[in-house]
């Protein structure tokens, strides 16, 4: 189980990963359905590090949409399902910072049962797993393009995962890393916030898009496909935006161009 060593900003203490230990892949529902390439790249990425990957087929969702909307009773049912499915696995890795934060930080709010809290604390975000747990910052990828990174707010502030995605990108052959101006600002997605306060969500997203264009990058990546769905949706609405490719960071970390 992962322990919180220090809060603000959060610093975690991870158990030691023993070589050959299987990792249960947690593929968040929207990634499974709308961004399957990110999940496939995650599998490939882990296998290249000689990490055996299993996919518990009964998994569905982490419960975050209902939790953030205030429907905790409904969220709890889904959280319990998640824990039943993932209980047998010591390591759970997911290609989404936001869903990881739901498990590791917020399961406790939904249900303080030690079993639930403990299982939630086994979940690790992909780039965090590579850098902080495996100690890998070079995945051997090659991607000769200009790339900028948007780190989701849950990844950044709830998990404190800030350096790992940057370190991984900087070691990709040929990749020119273009820092995103005002990178720490929220993109405005915020789950149901995007449709409950659409005007404000869009205004925030448009600022993010301006910064993506200002960065000079050809490709926008993130450890969170949910932010990308929102930012990418706005990019699609402009000429300059349509020229930007949008990808999950895992896809870059297995690229061989």
């Amino acid at each position: 189980m992962i322990r919180l060593k220090q809060s603000s900003p959060p610093v975690w203490e991870y158990p030691k990963y023993e070589p050959g230990e299987p990792v249960a892949l947690f593929v968040p529902c929207y990634v499974d359905q709308f961004f399957p390439d990110a999940a496939r790249a995650t599998v490939e990425l882990l296998r290249r590090q000689n990490v055996p990957v299993v996919f518990p087929a009964e998994q569905t969702c982490c419960g975050q949409p209902a939790f953030n909307s205030g429907y905790w009773d409904e969220a709890r049912r889904v959280v319990h399902h998640f824990c039943d499915v993932f209980e047998p696995y010591r390591w759970i890795v997911g290609p989404s910072g936001s869903c990881t934060a739901m498990c590791r930080v917020f399961f406790e709010h939904v249900d303080p049962d030690p079993r639930i809290v403990e299982i939630g604390r086994r979940v690790v975000e992909l780039t965090e797993f590579l850098v902080e747990v495996l100690g890998v910052s070079d995945t051997g990828a090659s991607f000769p393009h200009k790339v900028t990174l948007h780190n989701g707010c849950h990844t950044r502030r709830e998990l404190g995962v800030v350096e790992p995605p940057v370190a991984l990108l900087e070691n990709v052959r040929g990749l020119e890393y273009c820092p995103l101006p005002d990178a720490e600002d929220c993109c405005g997605f915020g789950g149901t916030f995007s449709v409950k306060m659409p005007g404000t969500s869009l205004a925030m997203g448009q600022t993010k898009v301006e910064n993506v264009l200002r960065s000079g990058a050809e490709v926008l990546v993130s450890p969170d496909s949910s932010c990308l769905m929102h930012i990418g949706g706005i990019l699609q609405r402009s000429e300059a935006g349509r020229r930007i490719q949008v990808k999950h960071i895992a896809e870059i970390l297995v690229a061989d161009e």
Binding site: P36, T60, G70, H109, A203, R237
Partner: protein, 466 residues
């Protein structure tokens, strides 16, 4: 500049059923830019202070201690003040507080009042109540003075006139004070100073808020930048101070950490220009302190939310909030806007009126990163969403409940999940062809494309080839 809009609470958007002001960016560009500039300055300032996190932790713990011992500390505070000749009164709500102020004013034949900044009086709508009984109350904090002249309400708790540009102020002075138009900052300040100075001398009563009440010494601490707080509290023969019950700190030694944090967090100053520590009335002067609950004990009673009462009203969470920067303060409909307002307002005025406020956040957490007393703002917002969804409130909806129930059922097992996913994928595919997009779908597609529906889901390909 619309001077009549947002004049009273009744005109506030969220107190009605809908919150169009929150859903749409309506704040002025000046406001957003000022907030962003201020936020960056504050971050840079704290980046150079290695003990910043220790200060925050200390401030948090002092406040939590004070809140946990509020019953005892308030009594200690009252006794210390009373012994020094200060009259201490308690008011359960805004109405009672207004009655106390009006009674005191009438007993002293007060015709005019000069006020230093006090957010509590905004809760009470005191200026209007005093006007109703023929007493003229004048705001002396420059920002408050401007919004009062304009017939508006503050848009920010520290910088109330953040939405007004220098040109706006010049036009306002020309219109209301009959001064020649200027947009030059120095000249504008001189005009305000000239008009305000006379008022201190004419006033029968001065009023102020309280930043900290020190229980150990019975001291009232007021910080400010313009000197107006000092003049309002010392020139007129009678000083009435308004204080929320949560402003107590236990000891005078606890004060420095808050002074270190408050100026820096609020305005990027190492220390505010003036720090007044009032130990009692000056000879031949009267000092009355009114300590007000007005919904604060609702927050105190909820252990999940109690730490929000530790707020020292620095305004940093407003400046750092991407939502506040875009919608402005009025959109939140009451006295306290921004992330902290979204937490305390529903609890102070009731979930029936303000349950929508906690939804005015993307939960990005920029606020809790900067909060000098470490209030876990985004976590509390989600918790208050839960309360809104479960208690009688303006967001409690059986339609949404049914939606989440169905969702929870679908997410309860693999085949149900696949069924729901099939519907979702089909929905997104078909949505492209809809000439008109209803409800949330329309909210999404207003400025965004829907995602492409890709080939088979990951789990399908895994099943075929693990």
């Amino acid at each position: 500049m619309n001077t009549d809009k947002h004049r009273s609470l009744e005109g506030a958007p969220f107190l009605k059923e809908k919150t169009p002001g929150l859903a749409e960016p309506t704040g002025s560009e000046a406001l957003g830019q000022s907030c962003e500039r201020s936020a960056k300055e504050v971050e840079a300032l704290f980046a150079g202070i290695p003990q910043w996190q220790d200060w925050r932790q200390a401030a948090h713990q002092i406040k939590q201690y004070a809140l946990a011992n509020l019953d005892r500390l308030l009594v200690e505070f009252e006794q210390k003040l009373t012994a020094k000749g200060v009259e201490v009164l308690f008011a359960a709500d805004a109405e009672e507080a207004n009655r106390l102020v009006i009674d005191i004013a009438q007993q002293h034949n007060v015709r005019s009042v000069v006020k230093g900044k006090t957010m509590v009086s905004e809760e009470m709508e005191l200026n209007h109540k005093l006007a109703d009984v023929g007493i003229r109350a004048l705001e002396t904090d420059l920002g408050e003075y401007l919004v009062q002249l304009a017939g508006q309400r503050p848009t920010h708790i520290v910088t109330p006139a953040l939405h007004l540009s220098a040109e706006d102020v010049g036009r306002l002075f020309a219109e209301k004070l009959d001064e020649p138009f200027t947009a030059e900052h120095r000249a504008l300040t001189d005009i305000a100073r000239r008009h305000l100075r006379e008022e201190y001398l004419k006033a029968d009563m001065g009023m102020s808020g309280v930043n900290f009440g020190v229980a150990e010494t019975g001291s009232i601490v007021i910080i400010e930048n313009e000197g107006n707080g000092g003049l309002s509290t010392s020139v007129p023969p009678l000083h009435v101070a308004l204080m929320g019950i949560e402003k107590i700190i236990p000891r005078i030694d606890d004060l420095p950490v808050f002074l270190n944090l408050l100026g820096r967090s609020g305005t990027g100053q190492k220390l505010t220009t003036y720090t007044h520590v009032i130990h009692g009335p000056a000879p031949d002067r009267e000092l009355v302190l009114i300590i007000i609950d007005n919904g604060r004990t609702n927050i105190l009673a909820d252990p999940h939310s109690r730490s929000a009462l530790g707020c020292i009203r620095c305004g940093a969470c407003l400046n750092h909030c991407p939502v506040y920067r875009r919608v402005g303060g009025w959109a939140y409909g009451w006295v306290y806007p921004g992330p902290i307002g979204s937490i305390i307002t529903p609890q102070m005025v009731g979930f029936d009126k303000a349950a929508k406020l906690p939804f005015a956040s993307s939960l990005c957490g920029a606020c809790s990163d900067i909060c000098p007393v470490k209030i876990d703002i985004p976590h509390q917002l989600v918790y208050l969403r839960k309360r809104g969804a479960n208690e009688p409130s303006s967001v409690n909806s059986w339609v949404e409940r049914l939606m989440w129930r169905s969702w929870a059922w679908a997410m309860g097992g693999s085949w149900r999940y696949r069924l729901a996913a099939m519907v979702a994928r089909l929905g997104v595919r078909l949505a492209r062809f809809l000439p008109w997009k209803p409800w949330y779908l329309g909210a999404w597609t207003r400025g965004r494309e829907l995602p492409e529906v890709p080939g088979p889901a990951f789990r399908k390909t895994w099943k075929d080839k693990p």
